[in-house]
């Protein structure tokens, strides 16, 4: 017997969302299968392997460095008390607001031959030329790894800390009763329990790293992303660019498989209100100060120093950098990010809710389809999004012509394109965060609500959404910041005369003149801080 009608509406929503968001990718794949790929075979025979290797090294490197930073930071702030813990708890999220290309520019400026550090060293040791000493070159692959990890580690920190917070202290206390030291119980209890969270965080970081364009472009490190960009702009070969993207999709597919595999049996339904507000260990003396020092150091290099440099620029070049255009760009960026944020959350709620209420095996498919856009590097995504939109515009104009209306580039030449592309790209972030929070809600709450006569929609509205508030806020925060920082897609999709703060700043970075856009750069950082503040406040109220 089958009864589908209340479910089928949700099924329809989910599939429409999934299929719509996967459309650009389909167009891209179709395009990549078209003939003529001399450019690709040329690349394949020459540099493609190096690009692929660089990409993989970059991803692994960023993951390793992020773990080294985020895991101890999360454990310290979630479980230990030490001077400044409460402040570090939120402050360590700050680097999320920092675009990689800004931090890369700042550190290049600092560590360059003509930068203040090398000048100071030369003066100090009376060195005359580069032959007199060795100094690391930041514009290399390891340099890029450090820059990207400094900005992306908060993803892992945020997700892992939340997971630790929601673990019962009793488990750790029980393990200590069995003779485990705090470090041992971290490795043997907390870490395995939070495995799903760690893998989720690292998957996010990997995808972000693979999509990074600005830093590797600025450092002249050739990766698959820069290859796509160059292939398109250098050779105008969309087919070759699409084929290179295929390699990146393969890497993404592997990363997602790893994530699913690690979570395969983790449908552990935690009891409600399991958030610890107290800490478990109280650090004293040397240990306490080492913890504080570690947090300080990470925060200093990932946030304080770059911001200080930007502020310094802003004061020094205030006249050139402060202008009306700045306010316009700020508002435009904010508007786009806000709209995308709301849309992705609504869509992810609908899709994840369908996954929850459906028992069909293929119920996970719409979410998977919708999430694929995250893998597309901004450049590729922009092209991919334009393919269906231009086609639609073309059809629309043909249909409406007899009626005397000529809408023009209604979809591909307006904000619609940029918003559509951002939704496709950042849906996965919202989906991941919403899905993780949904899994923490016991299924018996759904049954209770249904037994009391509530339909699926009422259950979603009255039970799930209030309980998901924290997950939704996290999702919203992550999407918002990503939109503010997103660059390559904006570069290619912005309507005529439309600038976001990011495109504005990047132009100046490319011209080695960040000083002149320092206020806009600071604004990107500050605007990214606003949602951090609200999320932090809400989390504190809740616990």
């Amino acid at each position: 017997m089958s009864f589908q009608s209340p479910l089928s509406r949700w099924q329809l929503f989910a599939w429409v969302i999934g299929l719509t968001l996967v459309t650009p990718l389909c167009f891209l794949l179709f395009e990549s299968l078209q003939g003529d790929s001399d450019v690709f075979s040329h690349l394949w025979n020459t540099v493609l392997w190096d690009y692929t290797r660089n990409t993989l090294v970059l991803i692994v490197g960023v993951c390793v460095v992020s773990c080294a930073l985020a895991l101890p930071l999360a454990w310290l702030t979630a479980y230990c008390s030490f001077p400044g813990r409460k402040q570090f708890e939120w402050a360590l999220m700050l680097p999320l607001a920092m675009p990689t290309y800004i931090i890369a520019y700042v550190y290049t400026d600092l560590f360059d031959y003509a930068g203040p550090i090398q000048i100071a060293l030369r003066n100090w040791f009376a060195w005359q030329s580069p032959d007199d000493y060795w100094f690391f070159d930041i514009r290399t692959l390891p340099g890029a790894i450090m820059m990207i990890a400094l900005v992306l580690y908060p993803y892992l920190y945020l997700i892992f800390k939340t997971a630790l917070r929601e673990q019962s202290f009793k488990l750790v206390q029980a393990s200590q009763g069995m003779g485990l030291s705090p470090l041992q119980s971290f490795y043997r209890v907390s870490l395995p329990l939070a495995r799903g969270a760690i893998v989720a965080g690292l998957t996010l970081i990997s995808m972000e790293t693979m999509a990074d364009f600005a830093t590797v472009n600025y450092f002249s490190v050739s990766t698959l992303t820069t290859a796509v960009y160059d292939t398109w702009l250098g050779y105008y070969s969309l087919t070759a660019a699409a084929k290179i993207s295929g390699i990146m999709l393969l890497i993404l597919f592997l990363a997602l498989m790893v994530e699913r595999f690690s979570r395969r049996k983790q449908a552990v339904f935690e009891r409600q209100s399991g958030v610890n507000s107290e800490t478990l260990y109280s650090l004293k003396g040397k240990a306490a100060w080492s913890a504080t020092l570690f947090c300080c150091a990470v925060l200093f290099f990932a946030f304080v120093l770059p911001v200080a440099v930007l502020i310094n620029y802003a004061f020094a070049y205030a006249e050139q950098a402060w202008n009306d255009a700045f306010f316009l760009y700020a508002w435009q960026s904010f508007k786009v990010a806000g709209i995308v944020c709301v849309i992705t959350i609504i869509l992810s709620l609908l899709v994840v809710f369908y996954q929850r209420i459906s028992t069909q095996q293929y119920s996970l498919v719409p979410g998977r389809l919708a999430s694929t856009g995250y893998a597309l590097p901004g450049t590729v995504l922009a092209i991919a999004a334009l393919l269906p939109l231009t086609l639609l515009d073309d059809r629309l104009n043909t249909w409406l012509e007899p009626f005397g209306a000529v809408p023009g580039l209604l979809l591909s030449g307006t904000l619609f394109a940029i918003i559509f592309a951002y939704v496709v790209r950042f849906y996965a972030i919202a989906h991941g965060a919403v899905e993780a929070s949904f899994m923490r809600i016991s299924p018996s709450l759904d049954m209770a609500s249904q037994s009391m006569g509530k339909s699926y929609g009422q259950t979603l509205r009255k039970v799930h959404i209030p309980l998901l508030r924290r997950g939704i806020l996290t999702a919203g925060l992550l999407v918002f910041i990503e939109c503010m920082k997103e660059l390559p897609a904006a570069l290619l999709l912005r309507p005529f005369n439309f600038e976001t703060l990011a495109t504005h700043v990047f132009q100046y970075v490319s011209d080695e003149q960040l000083e002149l856009a320092s206020i806009s750069a600071l604004a990107i950082v500050v605007v990214g801080l606003v949602p951090l503040y609200f999320v932090n406040r809400s989390m504190e109220q809740h616990s």
Partner: protein, 348 residues
């Protein structure tokens, strides 16, 4: 009028039969307990009644209304059932009053308020209306859960192991309380548990489930004293099997002597096994070892008596004996079997 009828209900999950041709009737105002070990299909049966899983075959009637068969399926929210869960399933973001009022649609604000107050009074939590679930003890949370489930006057109440998270000290007090509340509200209920003590204390009728089927249904006393199969006998209480030959309608010969039955049975075969429960055995001091003596393995003091562990016919059993009659470990004791309503099984 029956509150619930399950007719030939079957459910398969991934080609495994979870429920097989199950039949069950719950009369009006009756509390029926589905009792069985984990994995016997009792929770799935409950979900099929609620409409959370869809049975592959069979019919479900609630208040004589067909809610599920091959062509019909009434969604859970239209079945008018109340549910209680092991984890209480109270909405953590709502106050006690809002939780109770959650299912009260189509009521004016004042009517709703009045009903919530009534329910709070019924479960004796008048002062807790504005509290949140996490501010209540487990027992209080479960009382809110029953108030919530009964507030909208469901046709049938379904309880899924609702007492297993409650401290043993207060568990039976709470069971008595909830039973009183259900009886007071005159609602029929299906209760699922794996604990026979809870089942005995809570239900009017027991249905022991085994491998997706009802093995036997009856009052707790009937099932305990006259189980129809070894599965039911073993599940409802510890015991040992002794090979026995039928001598007369009331006498059986075993290696521990002749066992007398208080009522006459007529069996088609001459030999089988008797299922002897601990309270059918008495231990008396023995001076010399013979066929009917065994050694005391261990002794446990439980307040009103001692409980001795002995091995009878290669099966361990714990037998209680009065305090006045005390044995030490390794003492020899003679086993005697009191006359009782015997459980004689011919299958091996």
């Amino acid at each position: 009028m029956s509150s619930l009828i399950l007719e030939n209900l079957s459910y398969q999950y991934n080609d495994t039969a979870v429920i097989e041709h199950l039949n069950l009737t719950v009369e009006k105002d009756e509390i029926v307990c589905l009792l069985g070990p984990s994995g016997c299909g009792k929770t799935t049966t409950l979900k099929a009644i609620a409409g959370i899983v869809t049975a592959n075959q069979g019919k479900v009637f609630i208040d004589t209304k067909l809610v599920s068969d091959e062509d019909t399926f009434l969604a859970p929210e239209h079945r008018n059932i109340g549910m209680m869960f092991q984890d209480y399933a109270l909405f953590p973001h709502l106050t006690v009053a809002d939780n109770i009022g959650f299912g009260l649609a189509k009521m004016s604000k004042s009517q709703k308020q009045q009903r919530v107050d009534e329910m709070l009074e019924l479960v004796q939590l008048q002062g807790c209306a504005m509290r949140f679930p996490h501010q209540l003890s487990g027992g209080q949370q479960q009382r809110v859960a029953i108030a919530r489930a009964l507030a909208y006057k469901p046709s049938l109440l379904l309880l899924d192991e609702p007492f297993s998270n409650i401290d043993t000290q207060v568990r039976f007090e709470l069971i008595a309380d909830i039973r009183r509340i259900i009886k007071n509200q005159q609602v029929s209920a299906v209760f699922v548990t794996h604990s026979k003590e809870e089942a005995f204390a809570f239900s009017d009728t027991l249905a022991v489930m085994h491998r997706g089927k009802i093995a036997q249904q009856g009052t707790p006393e009937q099932l305990f004293s006259a189980p129809n199969s070894k599965v039911v006998a073993e599940f409802l209480g510890q015991g040992i099997y002794l090979n026995a030959d039928v001598l007369t309608a009331t006498e059986y010969s075993t290696c521990y002597g002749v066992v007398e039955s208080l009522i006459a049975h007529h069996h088609s075969t001459d030999s089988g096994q008797l299922y002897i429960r601990p309270h059918h055995l008495t231990l008396t001091p023995a001076s010399v070892q013979c066929e009917q003596t065994v050694k005391v393995l261990s002794r446990r003091f439980i307040g009103s008596s001692y409980v001795y562990k002995v091995v009878v016919n290669e099966q361990e059993i714990e037998v209680a004996a009065e305090l006045a009659q005390s044995f030490d470990i390794n003492d020899l004791v003679t086993i005697k079997i009191k006359p009782h309503t015997v459980n004689f099984f011919t299958d091996k």
